[in-house]
């Protein structure tokens, strides 16, 4: 059950030039939050629609939200200061299944944050592959190193970690048979490549999808994602049935 609550901003920390980590006290949401779920936040009177933001971490009665300022709404959000109050709806959606003996988390860019809480909640051996454009855009490296057994960083320009896409280290780990489950979040082309690679190795892959939203709770049907389940086509909804889907269910 989602809760509608007013959360007090406790902290706003700069992670990169455009990305901030907001800690928001929202007990009712923190208590129920599961990895991969998101919240729907009102971003000032000038933005009509709420903005969906993933739950990056939970500690005590607070949730951490990592926000990249991309447009009017996220820019407003990134500028919130301690003591500001946010109108938040959540936790929403279906998150990751973090079961399995050896879990491999694969994140790209602003898709990395929700994987942190998944890493913390998972019980097995945890590895993470985190891809970014360039060194100064790297997010949460320390946090992942603390939560995982192994962390691999890739950058498009080779300024840090391995040069190239997340799929190169992913393939090596799959070759080694080092994963029983892959959990991925990032841009759609990355998700598709990760899912296709994992499926070649017969490793189940969960993907966290993005779509533009209205209500955020499953009532308005705008956030459609087509799936094929048991041979049948369905129109599912990212906010309620997702954001996490089984890779093989998504019609790519």
């Amino acid at each position: 059950m989602p809760e509608l609550c007013l959360g007090r901003v406790a902290d706003n920390k700069k992670l990169t030039e455009t990305v901030r980590a907001l800690t928001v006290e929202a007990e009712a949401i923190a208590r129920r939050a599961a990895p991969g779920q998101f919240v729907h936040i009102r971003c000032g009177a000038e933005n009509l629609l709420r903005r969906p933001i993933s739950i990056c971490d939970v500690s005590g009665g607070a949730v951490t939200l990592v926000v990249e300022a991309r447009g009017a709404g996220t820019d407003w959000l990134a500028r919130r200061e301690p003591e500001d109050v946010l109108d938040i709806l959540g936790p929403l959606g279906n998150g990751f299944d973090t079961g399995g003996r050896r879990i491999l988390l694969v994140g790209g860019g602003i898709g990395v944050p929700p994987l942190l809480y998944a890493a913390k909640k998972a019980a097995g051996v945890k590895r993470a592959i985190l891809g970014f454009q360039t060194e100064h855009r790297i997010l949460l490296e320390e946090e992942f190193k603390n939560a995982c057994d192994e962390v691999f960083i890739t950058t498009d320009d080779g300024s840090a970690g391995e040069q190239g896409h997340v799929t190169a280290p992913l393939k090596r780990l799959l070759d080694r048979g080092a994963a029983d489950a892959v959990l991925a979040c990032g841009p759609r082309p990355m998700l598709r490549a990760v899912y296709e690679l994992a499926s070649q190795y017969g490793v189940p892959c969960q993907v966290s999808m993005e779509e533009r939203m209205g209500c955020g709770i499953g009532a308005c049907l705008v956030c459609a994602c087509q799936t094929r389940e048991n041979g049948q086509l369905h129109m599912r909804h990212v906010c309620k049935d997702g954001p996490v889907f089984r890779g093989e269910a998504v019609v790519w």
Binding site: L4, R42, L48, I217, A219, L221, V222, A224, Q226
Partner: protein, 307 residues
């Protein structure tokens, strides 16, 4: 002073408050039902129903605009039979008025829907002849007086519950369509549905919506909706459910003064899921402040300038 009366008799159907959830923004009530008690609503217009299941249009189906949104859902719904079997019993657990919103590709489909749903004892039908997001049907019936009358008359014959016809703003003269629906036997009218609109992403040079165009709703359309309700209320005698951009109690009061007996709240729910409840409370407070004892005393009470 006793609390003002909020209940409304609308075409013979009782609404405990004048505030109704707008079709398509509220699903079948389940999701909002987790956030508040649905019995606090005057009524619920359910998501538009068709004879067969529809998957709707491909995403993106929504774009934000200045104080509005465009949607191109395309009438995704599980079909009337599934609604009757799985959703209506759930809605019936609440003390609120249930309105089935129906769309057909042909007049026969509208009739089949009217028959099934009135047999299933929904409280009222809302005949959607104004959906801008589907190729056949929908808007095709709502843009000429003749076809609007044709659908209305046929649905009336097949319905045992009161029939309300939902009008499109995408016409030259909405009063002409309103009169045609009234003449064909409509018990009430609802307006407005969304206004056709478009947005383009200047980087990709592609429309933001995969359907290219969509329907505009939200505060941006409120003045247009208000004007249309005012004009239609002067043109017909049957009652009107007014909607389009209502996001606060003051908007709702304006809509009632313009001639509506009920108001619908849609897009406003996306930013504030409790908007309908806040609007209901605000209407009550306005009535108290104005020392009026019933919300019905507001309907059509605007005093226009004589030109």
């Amino acid at each position: 002073m006793v609390a003002p009366q909020l209940n409304v008799n609308f075409a013979g159907v009782r609404f405990k408050t004048p505030v109704v959830a707008a079709s398509g923004t509220f699903g079948f009530g389940r999701e909002y039902g987790e956030l508040f008690d649905l019995s606090r609503l005057g009524g619920i217009c359910v998501k538009g129903l068709t004879v067969k299941e529809r998957h709707g249009n491909p995403p993106p189906r929504i774009a934000e605009t200045p104080m509005g949104i465009l949607n191109s859902v395309g009438l995704q719904n599980p079909g009337a039979d599934v609604f009757i079997e799985k959703e209506l019993p759930f809605l019936r657990r609440y003390d609120t008025t249930i309105i089935a919103n129906i769309s057909g590709n042909t007049v026969e489909e509208y009739c089949e829907l009217a028959e099934k749903l009135s047999e299933a004892r929904v409280d009222m039908l809302e005949v959607n002849i104004s959906c801008p997001n589907v190729k056949a049907g929908g808007l095709a019936f709502g843009t000429t007086a003749k076809s609007a009358a044709l659908v209305t008359e046929a649905v009336k014959k097949h319905s045992s519950v009161p029939v309300m016809v939902k009008l499109s703003p995408n016409v030259t003269d909405i009063t002409e369509i309103a009169r045609a629906a009234e003449g064909a036997g409509a018990d009430a009218l609802s307006l407005i549905n969304t206004l056709l609109g478009m947005r383009i992403d200047i980087e990709t040079r592609r429309p933001v919506l995969k359907n290219n165009t969509g329907g505009l709703s939200g505060p941006a359309i409120f003045p247009v909706a208000l004007r249309m309700v005012w004009q239609v209320s002067a043109a017909v005698k049957i009652p009107i459910m007014g909607m389009g951009g209502i996001s606060k109690a003051e908007d709702a009061v304006e809509m009632l003064l313009a001639g509506a007996s009920l108001v619908c709240v849609g897009t406003a729910l996306f930013s504030d899921p409790l908007a309908a409840l806040r609007i209901t409370e605000g209407i009550g407070a306005y009535l108290e402040r104005k020392r009026l004892d019933s919300v019905s005393q507001l309907t059509g009470k605007v005093q226009p300038y004589q030109l």
